[in-house]
Amino acid sequence: MKKAIAISSGAAALCLMVTPLLAEPDDDSLVINEELQMVTETEAPDHLEYVNTIYSGWRFRTDETQALQLDDFDNPAMLTVDAAIDAFNTVDGSEGKSCASCHAGPEDFAGLTASMPKVIDGKLVVMEDLLNNHRAKAMGAEPWKWSGQEMQGMVALIGLQSRGMPVDVAIDGEAAPFWEKGKEIYYTRYGQLELSCANCHEDNYGNMIRADHLSQGQINGFPTYRLKQAKLISKHNRFRGCIRDTRAETFAEGSDEFRALELYVQSRGNGLSVETPAVRQ
């Protein structure tokens, strides 16, 4: 635990002493396809008040789960990414266009994911917004469902073009009010269990909560392929799950609250490599 906790009595002080020391993440190094060295541990960005070092969630997973991310042939997310490559080239909507009608290829988007979310025309925009906006405006196509595999496959394909680049989202200027809002959500203790993101992912990363080894809750690997659900999981779906588990009323996927939270959580990972698409338990 890193945050100072108000202590009311001598007995409480005694009990703090028996609190287990913070267990650290493992020492493994992530090199993908034997050539791409990923930064899974680095100095925390200046705006983090209570954490000195940030870690990718990969460092908290078992060796078996970690192994699935070492080679793209073993990475189960790549099937959905392949389907997204097909979708990139497939005409959809009233305008008779595909993504490829306007963009030479997914490679055009190298670096984009590393800087998302960002403010465009006064609105905080995440990747899902960009994709559905282009589908509507340029293609006359129906919007994709936020956490559907078509959407998340395309988010992963675009993210893959930034893999290995450092996460670097802007939090100042126009982004500042959205970032503040996200930070407030991060530290709010929601639900009947009164737990905040920080309780689990800042104060207790490295510790076990029942059978789960808590990470810092970073989103540099999203969308991640989750073995338990056998599909790509969106950031907002993960946020929903974590808030639901505090016995709280969650926010909706694609809500302004989750956009703001996404910006804030992404900024906590500034400096880690974009790892999309990661594999988790």
């Binding site: 906790i5 108000a6 202590i7 009311s8 009595s9 007995a11 409480a12 005694l14 009990c15 028996v18 609190t19 287990p20 267990a23 709010t188 203790r189 929601y190 639900g191 009947q192 269990l193 009164e194 737990l195 309780n199 104060d203 207790n204 510790n207 076990m208 909560i209 029942r210 059978a211 789960d212 929903r240 799950g241 974590c242 808030i243 639901r244 588990d245 505090t246 016995r247 709280a248 009323e249 969650t250």
Partner: protein, 156 residues
Amino acid sequence: MKKLLFVAATAAVTALPIHADTVAPTNVAFSDGAVSGSLTGVAGDPAEGRILMNKGSGNCIACHAVSALDDLPFHGEIGPPLDGVADRWSEAELRGIIANAKEMFPETMMPSFYKTTGFVRPGNAYTGKAAEGELDPLLTAQQVEDVVAYLLTLKE
């Protein structure tokens, strides 16, 4: 991590008769974090308490290790191990800690098990939807007594 901490309330919660002398969650009197009298007037059952340490709305070992419960898998590391807890705390203090640990340890991460008000966006159990009507406490008054009775068996 579906239902990570506390699985949906067991049938026992609704089946238990409410004793006439039961202290309501909003009426519990704390003194330095402790609650001196029984919440129900009925002695707690340590065997029931042992079950609640693992299951139901207790699931204490999500966060605490207990050597006496070594037959159960996956003890958490969030709170201190509870071995010998009866040597460190009195019955009244343990009751207070279970009912509302924030009275003893301000800002603690430990949930308040006998509290029904003052939450931010309280949900309808683990559905992610808004709570409807009044909330039930995580543990009934008798379940709090059962857990206290179990903790009192944890002596070094």
